[in-house]
Amino acid sequence: MEFAYLAAGFGAALTVIGGAFGIGKLASSAMEASGRQPEAAGDIRTSMIIAAALIEGISLFALVICILLALK
């Protein structure tokens, strides 16, 4: 039974969906906020990059588990 590969594939796909959804929502509110107040664009850009890296950190936790599954 080689379901480990199937599980790894499904896990990675679900993680990418969640991460892309979160970062997309983040980017859209950052664009909107920059449009409303262009002077704050620098601060908003910094906070956006920090939040994006944190969300990506979470999806990479799941990626590490998927790699462990696929290598078993």
Binding site: T46, I50, A53, L54, E56, G57, L60, F61, V64
Partner: protein, 282 residues
Amino acid sequence: MWFSDPNIVTDTAKVVHETAKKTDTSWIMHHVLDSREIDLTPFGVIHLPQLHLFGMDVSITKHVVFMWIAAIVLIVTFIKVSKSYKKSLIPKGATNLTETMIMFVRDEIAKPNIGKGFEKFLPFLLTVFFFILTCNFLGLLPYGSTATGNISVTATLAIISFIVIQGGGMMKNGVFGYFKGLLPHGLPTWLIPIMFIVELLGLFTKPFALAIRLFANMTAGHIVILALLGLIFILHTYVVIPVSIAFALFIFLLEVLVALLQAYIFTMLSSLFIGMAYHQEH
């Protein structure tokens, strides 16, 4: 017609399974993991010495050599930069670049996050930032390997960060006062044990997340590039070459950005945690 064949799904699955069983992809892991020899492929292989000290295996491996290279690069650069300030206070060239980066770490990362008294932590934050940056960039050069793509290296950096955070917090607030300051004020008495355990667990998960984030970001980029370039060899055709190289180039540029970003994120989160432990009144 091929699409009305009732066995189409099972036949495709069988062909994919057979091809997958015959393909050998162990070279991907061989390039990404640590090893006891430095593999300069057309020119030969350097075997590294194995040492055992008190029963522990402290042999020199590829990642250890690249960490030493990063340390030597940083030491030489910073000694040169600090000596050039004796000649003139106006920086030029490499001194200017280094001064810009140091001012960036001081003004954007250390000062806003730690607040008053940030000068004590500045050597640690600068060391961590430049070391992670150099290690990440060394992994992108030909024949290079990323030392921060090893979970032991990132775990060590996270443990050192943890010691600095707890040590800084305990020196300012006292050992008992630090633990008392972990709990938010205005809590009903029956909640205190639960909140204490939760906050204590939170103290440990934050450096763990730092380690895993850096390790996974560095390793994942390399695996994707190697897999895309390996498609050429697995599929055995010339047609795939321009597509594969274009995608791999795009992911490589993304990796340069990720190398810079991960050094910044590690330093920024460390300084944020130091600020939260040092000034607990927030």
